[in-house]
Amino acid sequence: MTTPAGIDPRGPRFAATITAVLLLVATFLALVGISTTPSGPASFGWFAYQPLANATYTPTGWAISSAPLGQRALDPGFLLTVVIALLFLWGVVSPRTAPWSALFRTLVRPRLAPPTELEDPRPPRFSQGVGLFVVGVGLVLHLAGVPWALPIATAAAFIAAFLNAAFAFCLGCQLYLLLQRIGLIGRTAPAA
């Protein structure tokens, strides 16, 4: 695999800034939504009504476990996180046409001085995949009724996006060697 053409390193950081803001908002929405809501009052009375005499009520449960799938899916935090996941997916599949990348090229970059250095586009693209995986796990667990899964997943993705935006810290670059050791990527040299 030959090295692809370099990209302006400020593009991925611009995208990471917008993504970090979206993820922080999604975390807030997830925290006030159904993911963190404890169960409401029992739906049956406390009288000695024989058919319900053996029914038990666990006040320490979570509302999401007993909520129908539609209610879980209509949670505002969930909906915003789905949008964010689709943006990550777009960034993995076609980075050049992804919204923030296109926005950077048309609106921001003409106003900046030319870049002093170009970077390989593959690590940022890999980082989009990492973000997709993390929020994807949160979305699936949320639909499965696991409480707190969604805000924890969006918070983790937020930290990675924020570190990239504010400190130019590339989590994907850090993970590469680790994943290589585990054997998931890059072990064999490609045929020249």
Binding site: T27, L31, D120, L163, C170, L177
Partner: protein, 136 residues
């Protein structure tokens, strides 16, 4: 969760992320102990410098490696007894395991006998390099 509490949690998350970023920035480029590692020049198919060698570990997709390459090359050319060699870890997980390299760029300062005297993760600070070379 009440919106006020959620807002507080979000603010705490932002603060936590900022602290993590500042800690990582501080640790980046500092001189660290080389431990008991020894560098084998056969791994780079090059010879060691007479006094010391700056061994840079890179991968194909490392954003900051070109910058470190230029820095170390310029630094080594200023000193006659220093050499700069580069090792590509992209397809060599055995080397990254042997030398305990977890991120790129990582730079070793290796003395004439092959002992690793110092290591730097990220872009090395110039003053930290000078101190480490002086200690060899």
């Amino acid at each position: 969760m009440s919106p006020a509490l959620a807002l507080g949690v979000a603010a705490a998350l932002l603060a936590l992320a900022t602290v993590v970023g500042l800690v990582l920035r501080r640790r980046d480029g500092r001189r660290r102990d080389g431990g008991t590692l020894r560098f084998d020049p056969a791994d780079a198919a090059e010879e060691l410098g007479s006094r010391a060698t700056l061994v840079q570990f890179s991968t194909e997709m490392c954003a900051r490696c070109p910058q470190v390459r230029r820095l170390l090359r310029a630094y080594a050319s200023d000193h006659d007894d220093l050499r700069h060699i580069e090792v590509d870890l992209t397809h060599r997980p055995d080397l990254s395991a042997r030398y305990k390299v977890l991120q790129t760029p990582t730079t070793f300062l290796v003395d004439g006998s092959g002992a690793v005297r110092a290591r730097f993760h990220g872009v090395p600070h110039r003053h930290a390099l000078t101190e480490a070379v002086a200690a060899v």
